[in-house]
C-alpha cells in the first residue's frame, strides 16, 4: 500500500501516485462566483528529482528516508501494470513494498521505450513480456549497488550480506542498514556489469496477489484522469467533426453561437469545428447553435454494403504467404473437404473516458495533459501541430479511463493543439460520446476463409486466409514486410494444432473511407474466432466431440493440451444439458498465453442468447500478480462477449450510424454470467494477459450456440434472427 506522509520533495505520496492533488475538499465557497472558480488543481506530477537520491537507472529513486519511487515506462489503463511493474522492480531490489510509490514516466524513447517496439508504447499485451528481464536486471543492479555501499561501510565481503524489505543485513555481525541510509553512498558505487537474478522459488512479491497501488484513489474520487485536468484560467471546448469520413468544413455561421452565454471562441479547423466555453455545457450549447455546412468529399456515398463487397472480393484473391508447412495442394486433394468463411464487423473502442486532451500553447512551448498509450508519439505529433521543436512540448500523462487501443492514436491531442493555438489560455477539449463513437479508428472488418480436409478424424490440410486492414502498415510501417501484417495473422500462423499441411495467407484490404486501428485483442480476435469456429464445424463433420477432436491434434503443444483438459473438467464438459443450452470450447495461444475457455449458453425460442457460465483455464507462465491475471481474463471475457452479442459499427452515406450506448450497446451486470478463472502455476516466462480474454469470448459463445441449436454462425455479432426456433443459418 501507499503511505501518505510527505516525502523529501514535500509532495504527498498519494499525489505521486495519482499525478495530481485532490481538489474536492479544498473548496469552500460562500459567495456567488463567476464561471469556473475551482481551486487550481494542476495535475502536474512532481518532477523526477534525482539530486540527493539513489538513482541508479531510469526506473528507481530512493531518497534518504527510504521512500522508493518507481517510474513507470508503461501506462496504467486498468490492466494493473503499475502494480505488476512495481512488483518486478521491487522483487529484485528487495524493496519495502509499503514504501513504494509510482510516477508516470515522461516521454523518452531512449529511457522508457518498450524494448519490443523501440517506442514508448503500451499495447499488444506486452508490458510484462517486454520488461520482464530489463526491469528485473534494473532492480537487481540497484540492489547490488546498495549491498556494495553497505559492505564498504562495514568492510565486509558483499557476498556475506543479504537484503530484504529495504534493508541490507550482515548476519555475521548482526548489522543492518536501510536503503534510505545507504542512498547517497550507493549512488557513488559502480554498477556491476552482470547481476544474478533471483530464482523463482525465492520470489517474495512476484506470484502474490498483492493489492493494486492505484485502487485506493479510484474508490474515493481522487484519481486524476486526463479528463480531470484543471488549470488556472482553463476553458473547456467540445468539437463537431465532419460526420462523413474525409469531409471538410465548407462554411460556418456562428451568429447565434457567438451570443450564447459562456461561449468564448469558435475555432474552425479543416475537418472540425470547436466551441470554447467557460465550461462543457456552454461549449455544447454553443456547438448546437452553430450552422455548419460540410463539404462531404469523396466518401459521401460509401455504405456498409459496398465496404463488405470490397472485402469479399479482395478475400477471393491469393494472398501473401505468411506460413506454409507440408504440401497444401496435395493435402487439400484428398480427404473429406470443408470450406467456410468467417466475418468480423467494425467495432468502436468506447472507453468510458471519452477521448480528450488539455493543451496550453505558450509562445515558446506547448504543454499537454492527457492519458495516452503513446507518450513520445503524442509529443512529436503535438510538436508538428504546434510548430515547435519536440523538446518544447511537455506531455503530462495520466491514468487512462480505458485505452483498448484508442489511445494508441494521437489524433485527439493533435486536434486539441490546433484548437489551443488559437487562444492564449489552456483549453480542455472533450469529445462528446457521440463524437467519440463516430470519429474512432475502428477495429477493421475481416473476412477469414478456411479450406480444410479431414483424414481419419483429424485435420490433414488447412488453408487459411485472412483478408482485412493492415493496421501495422500505417502504425509502424517498418513492421509491414513482404505484404504480411504480422498482427493480422497473429494466432493464425501459430494456431495450436498439429496439422501436417498447414498454410496461412494474408490479403491486405483497406476498407473504403473508414479509418482502422488496434482494438483490444488485436489480430488474434479475428483469428482465434475463425480457427475455433472452423474446428467445431470440422469436429462435427468428423463425428467427434469438439474437445476430443482438438485433443487429438495437440501432441506437440503440451501447455495447450493441459489447459484444454483442465477447462473441460472444470466446466463439466460432456455432462447432459437441457434442450437449447449448449457448451462451447475455445482454445487459443495468443500473446504467449494458453487459454481454454468453456462458455455455457442458452438460446430461447425467439433466438435471444443468455450466457450462463464461463470457465477459463489460463497458463500465462509466471503470473506476476495472479489476482490481476484473473481480473484481466474476467474483464476481457466480458469485453469479448459484449462484441459478440452487440458489437457492430455500420456505415451509411459515409457516416457511422451508431452514436452512444443506446445503439452501441455494452453488456451490463444483469447479463453477466458466472465467470470462473483458474490460473495455472507455471515457471515459464510471463505471457500477455490484458487482451487474451477478449479473444476467447466470441468463439466460445458461438460454439455454445452451435451446440445448443445446431446453427453454425459465421458472422459477428450474433444474428438472433438465425437462432429463432425453425430458422436455419
Amino acid at each position: 500500500m501507499l503511505t501518505v506522509e510527505k516525502n523529501s520533495d514535500g509532495v504527498s505520496r498519494r499525489a505521486l501516485l495519482t499525478g495530481g492533488l485532490a481538489t474536492g475538499f479544498l473548496l469552500a465557497f460562500h459567495l456567488p462566483l463567476r464561471a469556473a472558480s475551482y481551486a487550481a488543481n494542476e495535475p502536474v506530477q512532481p518532477p523526477d528529482v534525482t539530486a540527493g537520491k539513489f538513482a541508479p537507472n531510469a526506473f528507481i529513486r530512493i531518497d534518504e528516508t527510504g521512500n522508493t519511487t518507481l517510474i513507470m515506462p508503461q501506462v496504467e489503463m486498468g490492466q494493473g501494470t503499475y502494480t505488476s511493474i512495481s512488483m518486478i522492480l521491487a522483487e529484485e531490489l528487495d524493496a519495502d513494498w509499503t514504501r513504494v510509490a509510482v510516477l508516470h514516466a515522461p516521454p523518452n524513447d531512449k529511457l522508457y521505450g518498450n524494448p519490443t517496439f523501440g517506442l514508448q508504447v503500451t499495447g499488444n499485451s506486452n508490458s510484462i513480456r517486454a520488461w520482464w528481464k530489463p526491469l528485473r536486471t534494473a532492480g537487481a543492479t540497484a540492489r547490488a549497488m546498495l549491498v556494495q555501499a553497505a559492505a564498504g561501510e562495514w568492510q565486509v565481503d558483499p557476498a556475506s550480506c543479504t537484503t530484504s524489505k529495504g534493508e541490507v543485513t550482515h548476519a555475521a555481525s548482526g548489522r543492518k542498514l536501510g536503503y534510505g541510509a545507504l542512498a547517497l553512498s550507493a549512488q557513488g558505487q559502480t554498477p556491476p556489469k552482470e547481476v544474478p537474478l533471483k530464482d523463482a522459488k525465492d520470489f517474495v512479491y512476484i506470484g502474490q496477489p498483492l493489492k493494486r497501488l492505484d485502487t485506493p484513489d479510484k474508490v474515493n474520487g481522487k484519481a486524476v484522469y486526463g479528463i480531470d485536468a484543471l488549470l488556472p484560467d482553463m476553458k473547456v471546448a467540445t468539437v463537431a467533426a465532419c460526420p462523413v469520413f474525409g469531409g471538410r468544413v465548407a462554411k460556418v455561421d456562428d451568429t447565434a453561437a457567438q451570443k450564447m452565454p459562456g461561449v468564448r471562441k469558435i475555432v474552425v479547423l479543416d475537418d472540425m469545428v470547436a466551441v470554447i466555453g467557460d465550461h462543457m455545457w456552454a461549449a455544447k450549447k454553443g456547438l448546437a447553435a452553430l450552422k455548419i455546412e460540410w463539404d462531404e468529399g469523396p466518401n459521401a456515398k460509401v455504405g456498409s454494403k459496398e465496404i463488405w463487397q470490397h472485402l469479399r472480393a479482395a478475400s477471393e484473391k491469393d494472398g501473401a504467404v505468411a506460413k506454409s508447412v507440408g504440401d497444401i495442394a496435395k493435402g487439400l486433394a484428398t480427404g473429406d473437404k470443408f470450406e467456410a468463411s468467417f466475418e468480423m464487423p467494425f467495432l468502436a473502442h468506447a472507453s468510458m473516458e471519452p477521448i480528450n486532451a488539455t493543451v496550453h500553447v505558450r509562445p515558446d512551448a506547448c504543454e499537454i495533459w492527457t492519458g495516452t498509450q503513446i507518450m513520445t508519439r503524442v509529443q512529436s505529433e503535438a510538436a508538428k501541430a504546434a510548430g515547435l521543436p519536440v523538446e518544447k512540448v511537455i506531455v503530462n500523462n495520466h491514468l487512462l479511463g480505458g485505452g483498448f487501443g484508442r489511445k494508441l492514436e494521437p489524433d485527439m491531442v493533435v486536434a486539441a493543439v490546433k484548437i489551443a493555438k488559437q487562444v492564449d489560455y489552456p483549453v480542455k477539449v472533450v469529445w462528446t460520446r457521440e463524437e467519440d463513437i463516430q470519429h474512432d479508428v475502428y477495429r477493421p472488418i475481416y473476412r477469414d476463409t478456411v479450406a480444410a480436409t479431414l483424414v481419419d478424424g483429424k485435420v490433414a490440410a488447412w488453408k487459411y486466409k485472412v483478408a482485412g486492414s493492415a493496421v501495422l502498415a500505417r502504425w509502424l510501417p517498418p513492421a509491414f514486410q513482404k505484404g504480411i501484417d504480422i498482427d493480422a495473422v497473429d494466432a493464425a500462423v501459430d494456431a495450436p494444432y498439429d496439422i501436417p499441411n498447414f498454410h496461412v495467407e494474408y490479403v491486405r484490404a483497406e476498407p473504403p473511407a473508414v479509418p482502422t486501428g488496434f482494438w483490444r485483442g488485436v489480430g488474434p480476435n479475428n483469428n482465434v474466432f475463425a480457427v475455433e469456429c472452423a474446428m467445431d464445424e470440422l469436429a462435427r463433420k468428423a463425428g467427434k466431440d469438439p474437445v476430443e477432436f482438438r485433443r487429438a491434434m495437440l501432441a506437440s503443444r503440451p501447455r495447450a493440451l493441459a489447459v484444454l483438459n483442465s477447462a473441460a473438467e472444470k466446466a463439466n464438459w460432456g455432462q447432459p444439458l437441457p434442450p437449447r443450452i449448449g457448451r462451447g470450447i475455445c482454445l487459443q495461444p495468443s500473446f504467449e498465453t494458453f487459454i481454454a475457455t468453456v462458455v455455457e449458453a442458452e438460446v430461447d425460442d425467439m433466438g435471444e442468447v443468455a450466457v450462463r457460465r464461463v470457465v477459463s483455464v489460463v497458463d500465462t507462465g509466471i503470473a506476476v500478480n495472479p489476482d490481476t491475471v484473473k481480473a484481466q481474463i474476467e474483464g476481457g471475457l466480458i469485453f469479448g462477449l459484449t462484441a459478440a452479442l452487440y458489437g457492430e459499427i455500420t456505415i451509411d452515406k459515409g457516416r457511422v450510424q451508431q452514436s452512444n450506448f443506446h445503439d452501441y450497446r455494452m453488456l451490463r451486470i444483469d447479463q453477466t454470467p458466472k465467470i470462473e478463472v483458474h490460473v495455472v502455476k507455471s515457471g515459464e516466462p510471463p505471457g500477455g494477459i490484458g487482451e487474451a480474454g477478449v479473444n476467447a469470448g466470441p468463439p466460445a459463445l458461438r460454439n455454445a450456440i452451435y451446440a445448443a441449436t445446431g446453427v453454425a454462425l459465421r458472422r459477428m455479432p450474433i444474428d438472433r434472427s438465425l437462432l429463432a426456433v425453425g430458422k436455419k443459418a
Binding site: 481538489t23 473548496l27 493489492k211 480505458g402 450506448f661 455494452m666
Partner: protein
C-alpha cells in the same frame, strides 16, 4: 444566475444557467472531478450522484431541479455507513480496473445498500444495470456488494 446548493454537507454558491446539468457544475465550475462524464444521456451511470440519498444521473439533471435537496458525490460518500462499506468492499475484492466508471458504480451500490441492506441478485441487477463498466468488472461488483452487505469485511 446565482445558485446555492448543499453538496456534501457544504453550502456552495455559483453562477450557472438553470438548465445546466449538475455534472458540469460539479466538474467544470466547482472542480469536483470525482464524478465522471461518460455518455451525457443517462445511459452509462458514470455521473451517478446521490440526491437525498437516491442514485441520480447528474448528466441529465438540470441544476435548477436540485433545489434544497442534499447532493452527495463520490468525494463524500464514505461519510455514510453504506458508502464506507461499499468502498471497503471494493478494496477488499479488488474490484477496480481502469476505475473511470467506479465512482458511479460505488454511488449506485451505496444507494442500493442504504435502501436494501441485504440485496439479492435481482435487487443488484435492478440497481446496477444502469452502470456500464467497459473493463467488465461486473462479477466483482456483484460479489463486493454481497460482501459489503454481509458485514464480513476485513
Amino acid at each position: 444566475m446565482a445558485t446555492t446548493l448543499t453538496i456534501n454537507g457544504e453550502r456552495k454558491s455559483f453562477d450557472a444557467p438553470p438548465e445546466m446539468p449538475l455534472l458540469w457544475v460539479l466538474r467544470d465550475i466547482l472542480g469536483m472531478t470525482g464524478t465522471k462524464f461518460g455518455c451525457g444521456i443517462a445511459q452509462c451511470g458514470a455521473c451517478t450522484v446521490h440526491i437525498d440519498g437516491k442514485a441520480v444521473r447528474s448528466c441529465v439533471l438540470p441544476v435548477s431541479a436540485v433545489r434544497d435537496r442534499q447532493v452527495t458525490t463520490i468525494e463524500a460518500v464514505g461519510n455514510s455507513p453504506a458508502g464506507a462499506k461499499v468502498q471497503k468492499a471494493w478494496l477488499d475484492l479488488e474490484v477496480v480496473q481502469c476505475g473511470y466508471c467506479q465512482s458511479g458504480q460505488i454511488m449506485a451500490a451505496a444507494a442500493l445498500l442504504a435502501a436494501t441492506p441485504n440485496p439479492d441478485d435481482s435487487d443488484i441487477d435492478a440497481a446496477m444495470a444502469g452502470n456500464i463498466c467497459r473493463c467488465g468488472t461486473y462479477v466483482r461488483i456483484r460479489d463486493a456488494i454481497k460482501h459489503a452487505a454481509s458485514g464480513r469485511q476485513s
